[in-house]
């Protein structure tokens, strides 16, 4: 029986411009099935679009934000969007909405907004850190 490990996954590729969110999700399911632990999903750069609450793809297309959200909720895993990447790209929670006096908030639960310290923590404490980039 193998040693059980902890993982941090980092997604930098956006849904609909890359396969990264889908590859990462299938990998995440497989690592949980193998008994390992997913410490955290960290969204960076274009990857923050995965946390949009307003994505509404056609019903016969995959809905990556919804699928990731359900997976994180089911397994009580933290999903963190980098605050700097998210603010540039228009992904905000209620707190940032208030701070920047914006018209709405659009962060999908259970995603949270936090700084790069969360990623640094992953590199220090998880056994494995894996990156899922765009392919263009």
């Amino acid at each position: 029986m193998p040693t059980l490990l902890s993982y941090t996954l980092v997604i930098t590729g956006a849904p609909w411009s890359s396969q990264a969110p889908q590859t990462a999700l299938t990998f995440a399911r497989a690592l949980i099935d193998a008994g390992h632990r997913l410490d955290r999903l960290f969204l960076y750069g274009e990857g923050v679009h995965l946390a949009s609450a307003l994505s509404a793809p056609p019903s016969d297309e995959p809905h990556w934000p919804q699928e990731w959200s359900a997976f994180l909720t089911e397994h009580r895993i933290a999903g963190v969007a980098c605050i700097a990447s998210a603010l540039r790209r228009g992904l905000v929670d209620e707190r940032e909405q208030a701070r920047y006096e914006l018209s709405a908030h659009n962060l999908r639960a259970p995603f949270q907004i936090a700084g790069l310290g969360e990623w640094v923590d992953g590199t220090l404490t998880s056994d494995r850190v894996m990156y899922f980039h765009g392919s263009a």
Binding site: P2, Q19, T23, T26, A30, A34, M130, S135
Partner: protein
Amino acid sequence: MKQAQDIGTLHILNKAPDHPRFMTCLSSLSDQDTLVLIENAVLALSDADTALPRHTVALEADTEARGLSATVTGAQQISHAQLVELTEHHSRIISW
């Protein structure tokens, strides 16, 4: 600076063969390293211009999507579960 259990590095490559990062990856492998082709990179299996290293495997979901799973001879096809196993055995992983 290498990990104790030195069985080489796991390289996970998702770029198509005509992407500049593809060739950089191939020229950065050591003999004991393992190369995993995922996403667009599995197209290298049908590319007359690419010579793949000995320890190359390809994610089956991606070869199937691209119509390659039945014809592949240059690399073992693996499941996501097997990819997880590879990450268990390699403490050093580079995502290209």
